[in-house]
Amino acid sequence: MQEVLFLIPALPLMGFLILSLAGRHLSKQVIAVVGAGVVCIAAIVTIWLGINFLQAPPENGAYTETLWRWMSVANFNCSFSFRIDALSLVFLFVITFVGALIHIYSAGFMKHDRDYARFFASMNLFVCAMLILVMADNLVLLYLGWEGVGLCSYLLIGFWYETTANVHAANKAFYITRIGDTAMAIGLFLLFRELGTLDIPAIQKAAPEHFIKSSPLITSIALLLLAGGMGKSAQVPLQTWLPDAMAGPSPVSALIHAATMVTAGVYLVARMHAVFQLSPFVMNITAVVGAVTLLIAGCSAMVQTDIKRILAYSTISQVGYMFLALGVGAWSAGIFHFFTHAFFKALLFLAAGAVIESLHHEHGIFKMGGLKNKLPIVFYTFLAGAAALAALPFVSAGFFSKDQILWYAWSANGGNPLLWLVALAGAFITAFYTTRLMLVVFWGEIKTDISEPPGRLMTWPLIILALLSIVAGFIEWPHNLMHVTLFSDVVQKALPPLTEKDIVPSEYIFQLIAVAATLTGIYTGYLLYKKNTAIVAKWKEVPALVGLRNFFFSGWRFDQLYHTLFVRPFMFVTSLNKQDVIDKIYTGIVSIFQWLNGIFSVSQDGSVRTYVISVLIGIIFILALQFFL
């Protein structure tokens, strides 16, 4: 059983090697079979492994496999070893299964692209790196995967590199996540200095004994790790790269920037729960960051006009929910939201990709419209995804996961009524912008003619994901309604238990309020964009509202803020040193030697006579020395 672990990341790596080395000489069909096939096989292996894991859980709660010793320096040992516990298994399943569906979809989506092989090679490398990230037994290996996904994200955002804007978007994503990565690396160094090991099980065991609870040291370590997670997961204040990252192809957005990579931060926090639990302060920070992020990103999503940017902001906001859940100590609720979010957000991105492709690469939602009857499959699947995003009660997976988070935001030990209120406002906003998106894109009159409906390769993954977006929530019910806790039973083994406040109000009230918020959000969207569109038109004439709208549209002007705070001072400093002061020393040395060269080259006049005379003078000089000394 444990011997096949290595296959899961090795298969995509093999696909990457084949496609990057021989991709030019293969036909598109072969490329698609190799590229999607390896991920599909990895998914099958994972599912088989998962079934075995659930039927006969290993004794210590994890499968482990050590491949080889990676490095061994003094007292630092680091091996290339994998470890799969329940938490990794959830991530593993999502990465391989959703990844496989997205690969299949890409085979149809990218069929007219000339860099077919490069696309699949990068996607396979991404899957490999992401698998290493979640399977890693030690933090060094995790960091390898962490940087690997960053690299692939960069490569795939800039996939259509001939457009300058895409290259800028790729660079921006790379730089900003690098800030988080650097913080995380420092956190790892500190952790190693204190504990002398980077093996995850060893850290989990040693941390509570070694560190004093909420000491400055553990707080700074947890903060640095959190900063790493915030960079990768696009949380405020490092969220600005994700909306621009939509420059990549839609399957990339679905796989990397919705389902898997942006949740790496969630994984990191959950994986390092032993460290985070020692610092209640950082846990609170995590919750606040999540809450602030979900509100800021939700507000921005309300006014975007680019279909993919709406989804990007909504991703930031949903990942904010996950951070909120982790921060209040509702570990399994956060992971559960990741699980359902991966399905419905991947679905929404893929469906959006299908819409964009059918409408001659049109991104603006106000140039779409009336697609309900033209693209029925895309419409129904999109509807399923949108329902899950809006957390429509009982018929969507999103309801079950988001309701839990809302409940724990109040009732868990780290919870707070204020956090709950923000999360509730987020739920309202989410329902509103989802409705707006649906109504504008699929209802109304047709504004752009469709070229060709998506093929079967693209629709099947949509249908499967749509089914999952509906049913994936049924494995975990709110415990006051029905006692089904399949998900948390499994995940809880790898995570600390949830502690609730002693006195909490009835959960039914909270559910009713949450449902009411969702329905009000949907109704508001319906009112403003379908029933009475005159209201929005009237608002557009109020300068204050237009200003607010532009403020939200620009993502709360974070880009401008960073430009003023960091880019311009940096440009100023560089302009001061434009003459390159230090280089003056070296140019000075060069000019001294040129001057000496001018003097000495007079003696080399090319005339034999001068040379003979100088030889003669030399001889006379030596003879004179002989005589007179």
């Binding site: 060269n597 080399q604 005339s607 034999v608 006579r609 005379i613």
Partner: protein, 103 residues
Amino acid sequence: MQSYSVLVVAAILFVLGLLGVLTRRNIIFILISVEIMLNAAGVAFVAAGARWGQPDGQVMFLFILAMAASEVSVGLALVMQVYHQHKTLDVSKLNNLKDDIET
């Protein structure tokens, strides 16, 4: 006293050759002047060998003869080439190796 006068002859020959090298413009004459200087050195060796009754001086002169022969053959070959390329044997015009300062 005998060797002293021979050394004076050698010195006169050497200075004659040196003056030839310094003043002549034609390469061939310069080569001839070099030969004269070599012979002056040879005379000095022979005189020194006779002075101490040793064969070394004459052996040395034989070396100088061999060396001079080879030097002349190489030198004349070079002169041929120089004339072929530059159509002149005037050393004051053959100063292409002069270093032009660029800066």
